[in-house]
Symmetry: C2
Subunit: 496 residues, 2 copies
Amino acid sequence: MFESAELGQRIDKAAYDAEAPQLRAELLDLQYDLLTSRRFPVLILVNGLDGAGKGETVNLLNAWMDPRHIHTVGFGDPSDEERQRPTMWRYWRALPGKGRIGVFFGNWYAEPITGWVRKDLKREAAAHHLERILRFEKMLADEGALILKFWFHLSRDNQKRRLKTLAKDPKTAWRITEQDWWRFENYDRYHRMAEYVLRRTSTAQAPWVAVDGFDPRFRALTVGRLLAAAIRRRLAQPDTTLRIAAAPLLPVPSGANVLTALDLSRKLAKKSYASELARWQGRLNQLVRDERFAKRSLVLVFEGNDAAGKGGAIRRITGALDARSYRVVPIGAPTEEEREQPYLWRFWRHVPGHGRVTVFDRSWYGRVLVERIEGLCAEADWMRAYSEINDFEDQLVRHGAVVVKFWLSISKDEQYRRFKEREETRFKNFKITDEDWRNREKWDAYETAVCQMVDRTSTEVAPWTLVEAEDKNFARIKVLKTVVKRLEAALDDSAG
Amino acid sequence: MFESAELGQRIDKAAYDAEAPQLRAELLDLQYDLLTSRRFPVLILVNGLDGAGKGETVNLLNAWMDPRHIHTVGFGDPSDEERQRPTMWRYWRALPGKGRIGVFFGNWYAEPITGWVRKDLKREAAAHHLERILRFEKMLADEGALILKFWFHLSRDNQKRRLKTLAKDPKTAWRITEQDWWRFENYDRYHRMAEYVLRRTSTAQAPWVAVDGFDPRFRALTVGRLLAAAIRRRLAQPDTTLRIAAAPLLPVPSGANVLTALDLSRKLAKKSYASELARWQGRLNQLVRDERFAKRSLVLVFEGNDAAGKGGAIRRITGALDARSYRVVPIGAPTEEEREQPYLWRFWRHVPGHGRVTVFDRSWYGRVLVERIEGLCAEADWMRAYSEINDFEDQLVRHGAVVVKFWLSISKDEQYRRFKEREETRFKNFKITDEDWRNREKWDAYETAVCQMVDRTSTEVAPWTLVEAEDKNFARIKVLKTVVKRLEAALDDSAG
């Protein structure tokens, strides 16, 4: 894997001086073409051995190109806001928008590599990390990001030589710490782990390039050339990647499905409703104040037919909570900044910290529901969304969030009745639009999409709860009770 | 100040039941009108004594209205990201956008009041806080925010009664802590300070309302009625607040000004340039690595005539820095999310943390330059920007940032030469647009605006540096040298 990167490669000054100015002009040109096109972001990951010129190369790229449109981030220890959220949150918030270049040091590869070398992390746990990284990078690439991953390398002798040179020069001595020497002593372990990581995570969409870091001119040209070639090639390529999935998703031929299986006649009498409401709201209130919740969080997702009563159900939840502890996020059309980022970015921004509740009124499932049915995104895009969403929720849950997802289901007749009622009540007028009537015409398509969504995204860690919502009282209590039960189980679990 | 709020006011159940449902429906209606109009944000500040029903009232508002469009925030201890930035940063990042309602607990009044009662803060320091708050709220109001400030009050006897009741009931006992009793023992001190604060910070744009918090029905109707009335009135009012300032800003009649006073013939020979560049870049590099900088930050602002060489000067700065330590923020048209916030919001988001450098390529001064001259905002808006900007920079500096601002100045002839050169060089083509030629026609207007900007915003804490930029080498070294000198002085100062 590192054979040619340990040769001590060199470029002589004359050759470098003949090429560098041109390369630099080309990179700057490409950067502006990229910026003007606003077509995709470029993500450069910088990893490698100490003394192999990581920082120097990045500084050079910033000097060659226009640093105003490069976002270089060195990820050190996470801040407390970051520690309260899944590991990937800090990377999500730093992602460059379309047309921009992000350079990430100390990125998502730092933890598995350093953790394993320091023996904090077993190989299996590291493998699990890598698997998650692979899925994350696949998502980024599918969203259009151009990803370049550089591993700056040195042979053992050359690393020793470099560290000694840096330590001797008073101008650079500050850069060499005990840590660096410790890492050098573990050269073999680093080498082995890096070899494994590069092998496991080099993909066609995001390949690794090992760079011999010994000679500054050599590494500058290697990185510069590759970056220029990658951007040039990508700009020349039209945005017609594969737009369809391998096989279409068809409804089941029998007509029986999870929605038709619901017994919509379920009801709750008004009298029982009042006492049940008080009972479950009281329990929810207590759970959120439970000290065990201080290290957890709660993410609620509400989806459902139009007029199925999402808003009312949400208010029965929030009614049990202190307004300072929750946030309701209504999901509508994405903003300009959100459109320049991968699809899930706008949801990542609202991931709650410890001890907090976020309620999504509509959610990331829009991609496999309305966007799918209205043709707002390509088939290949909503098809991959199922696994991206599962990944996202898995990360939330692993980090301590309790994720509860509801589909509120009503019959077509009941929806008609509610639409009419809304049109006639001045007070509820704002709730009914032409779009609602249009969506209604696609009832069957939605039904199929919902069933497939449930099949593909109801997971052990974040299962769907289908709610018979023909009777509002019944639905509201079922929602409350489900939240309480799930939260209770999770807190008991974390205590045990 | 609190006379009627200590009467133990009450509303009987019948009167409440007759009014509440209507009020609730009206509030919900108004909330939707507000949301649809997207005209202004509503900011509700909640302060007051323990046990006076602050939390309960806010929960009620969230229950009455649609909680999806209310953002309730309880500000507790700042996070480490917040501690690294000026105090107001956390409030800026939580501001509701136009059409939304923000409810802020533990807001900017908490520190001066509690600090003084706890004797952490002298009255003079508290007064200084209040002055800053007044300016902040004035800015918010001028930007269109509807601000309501509630002080929930109780007489001494009633507070004692409330705390005892809450402590006795097992359902609410958890809410009463030692802290609450300590605060109750300091009732007089709280009372005195609150009186002072309310008196000093009640303005026509953001008046305080003291609410007798003893009876839940009374406080619910008081707050609900006022909120409804305020939103209703404001929605009915057209957006034609005062659009002009009291007196116009005229150029000085003599024609002599800070720009014409510059000696644009100043030059630096190529040979000296190379050695000077190395010298000042070296010093800058060392300063940013100085351990004293780990608790400071650096904010650089670049403004100047088109083609004056801002980009080149910036690259000479960044060339001295490690790419991980700085961020260059180019300022163009605001995004959708930025347009829904007060003008300075888009700059607050980029305020650097400790040990970091942010370079603004164009900046908040756009308001008093291009926006003023192109008529993109009303006269009254850019007129008030001078003091808002001074405030902003003052906060940065007080929190440890070094703010260095440059105006790069070239002659009209030199600009023409550079424009032509850019048009002819394919490589620099992207840098020249029709807009540049149009701006040039307004040379005199810009000159006046720049001089007035310098006069009004060159402060002791954040002075302007005017740079003779006819000769690029001279300009770049002057910029570098100025940054080094300012930073050096600041670090020496912080050590002393």
